[in-house]
């Protein structure tokens, strides 16, 4: 038998039918659902009189629209947001799927709730109508975003029509330097490949620096695989994975755990398996990074300066010129001189407990700059509760941060947490697109520790100066 990659193995275990031209029906083990990309899909089922084929494998939670202020117990003020969340309430009930409503302590960002509750397990296929479904790849699950028509397809048939992607290996060798985190790895990789470099591929991340990461860090890395254009990102499961999964509410127990573990231990890339593309970065070479432009590929070490558009080639020259203008920067300006007025810590990229610990470590005993608007939005109600128990919430509040309830919040600004035109935000989220955090808003992506440092100084800051 020819050697297989991890992706090959998971793919092969989920093909329900293969047509002569290679088009497959891929069976889906877990379907995660949120309120923004699902109403039209449920409506389609109703119109056709179709049930959800596997409601026991379908999990829903509202996250994109929900306010993160304490007054949300009184209901959602924005009528359109309220209608979307109410539609999910009703659809979950009518179709009998698992549901974590807004007031449940387990509510949070769908990609944080799934792993936290043990729905996401190694070797599974996981989809959601959200591009950051790639997050779940950290468990060695094949996980990717789909559109609403595909949401309806999975609800009705528990399968997706797919053709197999190519295999890409991204290896991060060696050790990370102090102050360098999973976020810096994933941004540095996109800086290397570009936002279209992964198109047509599934990435497997490997190497010592990846192995050394916690599950939280691995989720941060895989989360942004989509920002590099890849369909999915994967990390082979190991003891770190099993330890995280064990005992979670929906993880297997007893004899089933042993059986599952036996299979999970076969989920690795065979020696000599073929990769269509290989990228290698040295962990030691990765610096704390920030983005300067309006594409996640616009990444530079914090010690660098804003580039000249002419430094680029082809269509990127015009794109860079447009980005620099939109961002209100000057070519040649030091990134560490860029002043910010807003800090956002949260999102499915960096809204987990480890992220909050890293930020709190920098903020302990310090105050944010006068006039700075800074908020922490934990990724789930349970992350929030744990942070309160560990005393992190107090550190944030004493430093001057707002301590919010769980949701997607200012990552995409569908709820009231938004930037005003011209405001400049240091954000731990995943996209710095024009208008992403609010029309005319400017976003610099960075790690939680770097965001905390920026909140204190009021400018993009090398966190290593504070360690």
């Amino acid at each position: 038998m020819s050697p297989k990659t991890l992706y090959d193995k998971i793919w092969d275990a989920h093909v329900a039918h293969e047509a002569d031209d290679g088009t497959c029906l891929l069976y889906i083990d877990r379907h995660l659902v949120h309120e923004v990309t699902s109403p039209q899909a449920f409506e389609g089922l109703r119109m056709a009189g179709r049930p959800v084929r596997a409601p026991e494998k379908t999990i829903a939670v509202p996250d994109h629209n929900v306010p993160t202020t304490a007054d949300r117990v009184n209901g959602i003020e924005n009528p359109e947001s309220r209608i979307q969340v109410e539609a999910l309430d009703k659809n979950a009930k009518d179709f009998g799927i698992h549901y974590y409503p807004v007031h449940d302590v387990r509510q949070g960002i769908v990609h944080i709730v799934g792993p936290e509750q043990g729905w996401t397990l190694p070797g599974m296929t996981v989809v959601c109508g959200d591009s950051h479904t790639a997050t779940h790849g950290a468990f060695g699950a094949l996980a990717h975003g789909i559109g609403t028509s595909e949401v309806e397809h999975v609800l009705a048939t528990q399968t997706l029509i797919q053709k197999k992607s190519k295999n890409m290996k991204v290896e991060i060798t060696g050790k990370l330097q102090p102050g360098v985190t999973a976020k810096d790895i994933t941004l540095a990789v996109i800086g290397e490949t570009g936002t279209a470099g992964g198109t047509g591929y599934v990435i497997e991340y490997c190497g010592e620096a990846i192995r050394d990461l916690s599950m939280e860090g691995r989720m941060t890395v895989c989360n942004m695989a989509i920002e590099g254009g890849a369909r999915a990102g994967l990390i082979a499961p190991d003891e770190t994975t099993y330890e995280y999964v064990k005992g979670r509410p929906h993880a297997p127990k007893g004899a089933q755990w042993e059986a599952a573990l036996n299979w999970w231990k076969t989920l690795y890339t065979d020696e000599d398996a073929h990769f269509d593309k290989v990228i290698t970065l040295r962990g030691e070479d990765i610096a704390p990074v920030v983005t300067w432009g309006t594409s996640p590929e616009d990444v530079l070490p914090i010690t660098a300066t804003v580039p000249q558009p002419e430094d680029f080639e082809g269509g990127k020259v015009e794109a860079a010129r447009r980005s620099i203008e939109y961002m209100g920067l000057e070519a040649g300006q030091k990134l560490s001189d860029v002043e910010i007025d807003t800090v956002f810590i949260g999102s499915c990229t960096n809204g987990r407990i480890e992220d909050l610990r890293a930020a709190a470590e920098i903020l302990k005993g310090k105050k944010i700059k006068d006039g700075m608007r800074a908020m922490v939005v934990p990724g789930s109600g349970l992350v929030r509760a744990q942070a309160e128990e560990e005393g992190l919430a107090e550190i944030f509040k004493e430093a001057g941060f707002e301590w919010r309830l769980a949701g997607c919040s200012m990552c995409l600004a569908m709820n009231p947490d938004q930037l005003q035109p011209g405001e400049r935000c240091a954000a731990t989220s995943n996209r710095n697109f024009e208008g992403r955090q609010g029309r005319g808003g400017r976003t610099h992506l960075l790690s939680p520790a770097m965001a905390a440092a920026a909140a204190i100084t009021g400018r993009l800051t090398d966190v290593r100066e504070m360690m």
Binding site: G44, S131, I146, E152, A413
Partner: protein
């Protein structure tokens, strides 16, 4: 779904690379629970001024391009969020074909589910088509799916590739769910097997 055959219409140039789905349709318009009526907010932040009113400089606001049916766009079109509101807005505006040197994966898939044909062409062909699209109202291209050919206003013919299964579905207006349900017995069989092999799932 409507059958897709041939499009003969105005092609508009959008050479900017990395046009993301936030640009195609910003999140303020994702709060709908319907698929229809989004054409008016397509490219909202580029198309309208902050205070409202059309930005006359934006290509689709120019008189020649108001009835655009074909978009010739820069590399990596449709990157970012998986929102299917992007192709819904494109379709609702009246655009039936998008041509680029590459597309983001999820957007590319979403197009086919909505009767839009995304076409990937080589850089040299892309340059020819982009130049043609700059000819204003004279920029009338023909896209023939059956023959897999694009014909420029000057009569230059460029062939393109399309996945045979997707071509078949577009040409016949077939609904994926209906097609998959015909293979229900395969899914039943897979579930029986998987529940033995991986009972914990």
């Amino acid at each position: 779904m409507e059958k897709f055959d041939k499009v003969h219409g105005v092609a508009a140039p959008m050479p900017l690379i990395n046009i993301d789905t936030d640009m195609i349709i910003p999140k303020v318009h994702l709060k709908t629970i319907k698929r229809s009526g989004l054409g008016v907010v397509l490219f909202d932040e580029m198309r309208y001024h902050d205070h409202g009113g059309e930005n006359e400089e934006f290509v689709l606001n120019k008189p020649a391009y108001r009835n655009t049916e074909i978009l010739v766009a820069g590399d990596n079109f449709g990157c970012g969020s998986s929102r299917e509101h992007a192709p819904w807005a494109i379709k609702d505006f009246g655009i039936k074909v998008v041509i680029s040197t590459s597309f983001a994966d999820i957007f590319f898939n979403n197009c086919f589910k909505n009767g839009i044909l995304p076409i990937v062409v080589e850089e040299e062909h892309h340059a020819v088509l982009m130049e043609d699209a700059h000819k204003g109202e004279n920029a009338r291209m023909t896209v023939h799916l059956e023959d897999q050919q694009i014909t420029t206003s000057d009569g230059v013919v460029i062939e393109f590739h399309v996945d045979p299964h997707r071509k078949h579905c577009l040409l016949n207006g077939l609904d994926d769910i209906g097609l998959t349900m015909e293979k229900d017995h395969h899914i039943d069989k897979f579930e029986d097997h998987a529940s033995q092999a991986r009972p914990w799932v």
